[in-house]
Symmetry: D4
Subunit: 252 residues, 8 copies
């Protein structure tokens, strides 16, 4: 659908394409009944459909990943429990599972490197799972990844000390729980686009990350955008799209 | 009531006090019908009853302040509109009104200086009204006050530059709106007790200060306590009680 | 502060810089008492401090903008009422005011063009004020801006028809109220980074944009990040930072 | 009670009915102590009382279903765990249990077909349980059912491709989690009444379906009504009532 | 777009349609810059685009309504203040304005009667504005309308007395504020599809209709679907789509 | 309807009542089109229908009160603005208006005294409007009323001093804003049924009385029930019903 | 403390009481370290301290109940798990445990019958646990109890049929989950004071009873007061206090 | 960083410090990869970094505590499960674990006594875990601790009886669940700074402590500040900072 309707209609009119071909061009998915795997996703977004593991059975995951992989496309599945991962790996032994980030992935030749670097910062050790979901995703999607962990604002010198490392990144992903102040402080110091990821680390009035999310949305620093609570994957996906900016200029 | 019931009962039993005197000792208020002015507040809390102006008529304010002042006690009234202030001042021309903090006050000889200093910090110019409510209250209640304004985390060097000034305070009041990150950063650097005051400065997901309040309650820095949104008065009142700690040791 | 502490310390040690110069280098602000104007913001973030107009008086705005402009820096102030704008313009007649976006701005030579294009989409005519805040900000900050308005999902063909225009942008800002479904649909079709801006357009269970915000944060499409309700300015600021990615590679 | 009070009173007055019979006519339930099974439900609503399984013991379910079935009425019970289902089936082996939708049902001759078709769409594979609750209920209540699954807006072509199938339905039930954008898009394209069912599929700011629900209630498309989160049953019940519209015209 | 893509592609291939015609067929809107008026809405949904008045200027309303009316299509605009209405009527004097429902409308020959009846019930006199928005919309869209007002559950006999009138309707719209119990009671008695409309009538814990909305979504009666708070228009729109069910069977 | 259906049916059967009379007996309201005034309310509840003034026009209020008064029934209308009150009094000059409680009332001979006393306590002067709504309602409905105002827990001795007065009441209504602690303290000391009324007095995290309401619902003292925020009327209505307990025993 | 301070002071002054006795009179509790059992509760409230079981260990429950029982006072403990109950019964075998209501109780001679009747209604079978907590508590506290279960508004005739039974009660407790409409309907029909108890029965937008609670607080029927979600105990406690009204008149 | 930047720069300039030393002075942490242990915390805050146990593995806890202890610094870790505690104690057998407060601690010579007293009050036995977290923390951090438990307002005499004990404290920590009224009552009587700690003890509308928290933030008593739900540790930390006020005056 990214190619405008007009050009496809034109091609049909000029006999360069049959209506069947036009239809297939626009169709772009495989129907498994309970799932329609989006085979055109790569063409539209530059990366194959990513599988959201929440609420899917191991059987469904096996079949969906097989459908994606069979044409040489890379697989990335999020929020996969250790048990489900084991069952998928029993069928597809080339797939890697990372128990910290709970990601299941297999990178094939279809992923082009962005040639740029994503910095992943987190405020505390308890935010590690989410930070790793961001870092591993960014890596699988073709970015160089730099991890800067446990630099929360309660010990500000740890962060200031990391400024040279931060400086070397093209996009920043800043992961924090509790009051989520870290993105505001980093955003006041760094000139890169910054994606803030609230985590559900906290208790009481934190309300499983809601307070953190609200804090980040209200940041007094400019240049900050926000994703859903614990959505390390989404932050890395957006960071990748940012790191592809200018490809066209450079003839990619 | 602060003197234990037992000592009063003892005094009655020993004939040192009549039951009538005991009752009056415990009564400690003047009944205006719509209001019972707490004349024993000074004895219990070290400062006369403070008048909450919200929802009171000018006529009520005139009578209540007169009741407080007539025995040489100081007056402090919060959330007073300019119009109501003018009507109270028409009756009591010695009372001062400050339109920024919306405080109405008249300090008499009953207020003892704490001999200590309160630092009032705010994140942005828009937080000024609340910061001034804290600063003026702290001053009226007998503290030395030091103002450090517009030191929000988006320009961190402004705050770091103020560290020597901050160092010279005994208690810190930190006022901020939006995501409210300033208390976390100050709390990571300074060893004093810190009272965080969320303001209703912000929009959208700030929900009139609720996001700020939640952020402050979830701070990852230790040594921070929080008051209600826009409650500069309450912060200064608590700071004053803190600055009185140790009076007894020093024989006051 | 962006230059690491170490290099400044080194310079002092080697006698290339006095401690006074080092301090001034780190200080970087002008203290007006009620405000500390961050003169180092341009150096850190590539654009001078933007003034948040909410809660500031006209007098404060006049003085703050004067402070920013005097060194040849550009001014951008948000959420300015027509009345305040008139009072600022009385002092600084070179400043432009746009009543739709409520922005006050004056662009000087310090703003470098990004050389890239921001697409601003909105779902309905009622979202215009926020869309214009984004579009005008993006323009002032040095981007080419393309407006694609009233392409809400209730008439999907309007959006599909605009796909070629969308295709020509480097970053997308998608503004919508009510259920906020537009970013999900655009994000499913377009490969650019997409910043979703919820607006407070709606009623009842919309809760002044909160439902819209929540919808965007939960989008099933990847590559979407979100800013606060009605924060067109923030979206454009982030889009500008994204459009500067790769400057270093190209020697800028 | 559907027959107006007046006609029953009239019948009593005219001696066509005793006061006892009138009372029984109006009574219409069987009292089990802990439950009063509504035997008049069929007459009023065209389908027997449906049993809400949440919070009922297996023993209660056995007795209640027996009470419903004994007069030749169909049984439908929702939210039944596998364990409770097994215990009910031990007593009533003609009852079917579907573990995906968690429905327990037994259709007898009292259900009249609507002669019309319900389309059940869902956005993703994770929404299957709720979609099946709707589909099975619609089937048990006498509708032809057409399932169109995994057509979420992130891959819009999957939905557009299904338009001919959608076109053949009389009422649409659209099930979605996360931001719940699917009903808005379908509602912009299809002329049938559309019942939107939010699911609790999502995480973080989804708040177990609350964000989805709010999104659907604020849809910019017209012709959409909404039911409670995960309430596939309720959507199918309403769809059935819609599909009976016009029966009277046709003499049913 | 309702005609499947395939049939249009086929027509192009067979030379029955040029690619230009196919494009125009799919385009179906007029671009006013700030608005794209959806001229294909009638074909897709059976009624022209309805104008949401909130946040639109009188000038925009004049131009948008003119665009809709010029091809003989009916106009319906919601949430129009008296002042804006007067300015639109100055240009289009054939348009009617109803100050109770705040609807602006002009019915032309393109609206086909449904031949069926909508019953509009409301719980109290304070709900009148919303009930009338539903009733007038249902009338403009071609339904027979029956109003049954002030039948709240605090005086149940008023409702029971109206049962024969209720019985004569094909679809019910039930409008209520406060706790919103009326739909549950009506839904327990009546066999028609019931659309519940919460109103913002109430105070305190009603939270401007939120409590009412929640109550209706949780109704223990089956056959109820819900629309947004105060959305009388949306209820009537859905009721109209329901009343068109079966048209195809009858050859319409 | 309070007389059981059976006894009315019996009377019809025995010829003691015609079906018409039975119907009228059950009907019990007057239909003004926009309102159905419940003339049977007195018989069911022991007091005529009370008019909720919110959202009603002055014209509607004039007609509704006339309908109630014409048969010698008392009138009570709540939430009436001064302006509307003046317009109603222009028609019915015997009606009293109280601007503090915003009640409009006229007591006729149909109200029987309960012979018991309601104590109305409030925490602060700002709660006066709500406390007076309770006190005046209780008086109009036939209770002796005792007012005990400004006895908030910040000056506990004021409350303890009022214990003998509290002791002389049969039912207690306790009105408070802010944190709403007063009912808990009174409920710990007094043996009467206690109705807690939260007010919207407060700011910030009070959320217009929501925090107060929640506090009262969670009271650690037993014997407390709660009404909606600012609902002084409802508390007094319930207190009256409580004060009628035992009438039957005493042959009333 | 219920005897006014003055009378005790008087007695001390007149030598009728020593200061020690006066102190003991006012003290009225036994200090177990982790708990101060309130032995004066009976005198103040007419029933001994009720033990809230949530968060207490079995060991603490054993010791606390022993402390209450040793002076011939009755025990009532709420929210006791089966396991904890067994451990308490091992020590005090005269205590009864009811697994449905999760109450642990032992009634001694100190409880005086109210001589009046409490009606406990519930909307559905799933509300049974809460209804039984109310019914058993009311029984233990000396009321006659009448249970009327499963009379929810979806089958209104079940409720109307029970009106004669309802009529025979002095106070009504109405328990309901989901939208909680039952109290509104009963409150429109019955003249007794009505205590509404929301339950956490429901799902999705019910938010564990919050929607139910809000519905009940906003009831359009008068004479209804509300307690916390699932608080059957609190409703029965208040009902008991109501049923004691008038004791004094009758010389009790 | 507490020593102002200027003095360090001066020292470097004067050759009293190398740039390397200056850097190390500012660095002050040990990088474990997943954690940067803040070794400068003691110098800034007067107590070593406290470990938040939530979300950390036993392995991480072992290594982090070892890092803190190795230089003679005291360890305090919060929210440690019994299982994790056992694994840490296996490595560091000198560490104490308290299962009630879930604190893990080891006090070394670096903690200086404040020489003052903290009073810890709690409302009920169910609040014990949080009260103990406060009490043990205050003890470990060098305060004398006085526990006053189960003095909730439902039995006010228990509290009044404890007034002499309360009087002997320098700072008060008041722990309560449910409606959280205790701080308001204590704050009305006592002149010390009071830190209110809401607990998650309660049910239904308590929303796991949120209602309690809101109540405390809205207290009508002055001199109260609040911490997060169940944050006994944070209250004690702040109390300690308060108890150090005046150290400088006394030459400490």
């Amino acid at each position: 659908m990214r190619e405008s309707l007009q050009s496809i209609l034109k091609a049909v009119e000029e006999g360069k394409m049959t209506s069947r071909e036009a239809h297939d061009e626009l169709k772009g998915y495989e129907n498994l009944g309970y799932a329609r795997v989006d085979s055109a996703r790569s063409k539209r977004k530059g990366f194959p459909e990513v599988v959201y593991g929440g609420g899917k059975t191991a059987e469904q995951l096996v079949e969906i990943t097989a459908t994606i992989m069979k044409d040489g496309r890379s697989v990335l599945a999020t929020r996969i429990s250790e048990e489900k991962a084991a069952r998928v790996q029993a069928f597809h032994n080339e797939i890697t599972y990372d128990p910290v980030s709970r990601l299941l992935y297999y990178r094939q030749g279809d992923v082009v490197s962005t040639g740029r670097r994503v910095g992943v910062l987190c405020a505390g050790t308890s935010d590690l799972r989410v930070a790793e979901e961001a870092a591993v995703t960014a890596d699988v999607m073709g970015n160089e990844v730099h991890r800067i962990y446990d630099v929360g604002v309660a010990g500000l010198h740890r962060l200031l000390d990391a400024l040279p490392e931060i400086d070397a990144c093209d996009v920043l992903i800043v992961v924090a729980g509790m009051e989520g102040a870290l993105p505001s402080v980093v955003g006041g110091l760094a000139p890169q686009p910054l994606i803030a990821v609230p985590t559900s680390v906290g208790y009481g009035a934190n309300m499983e990350g809601l307070a953190t999310l609200l804090g980040m949305l209200n940041s007094c620093s400019s240049g900050i955008t926000v994703v859903n609570i614990d959505n390390g994957f989404g932050a890395a996906y957006s960071a990748t799209l940012m790191n592809r900016i200018g490809w066209r200029e450079n003839g990619r």
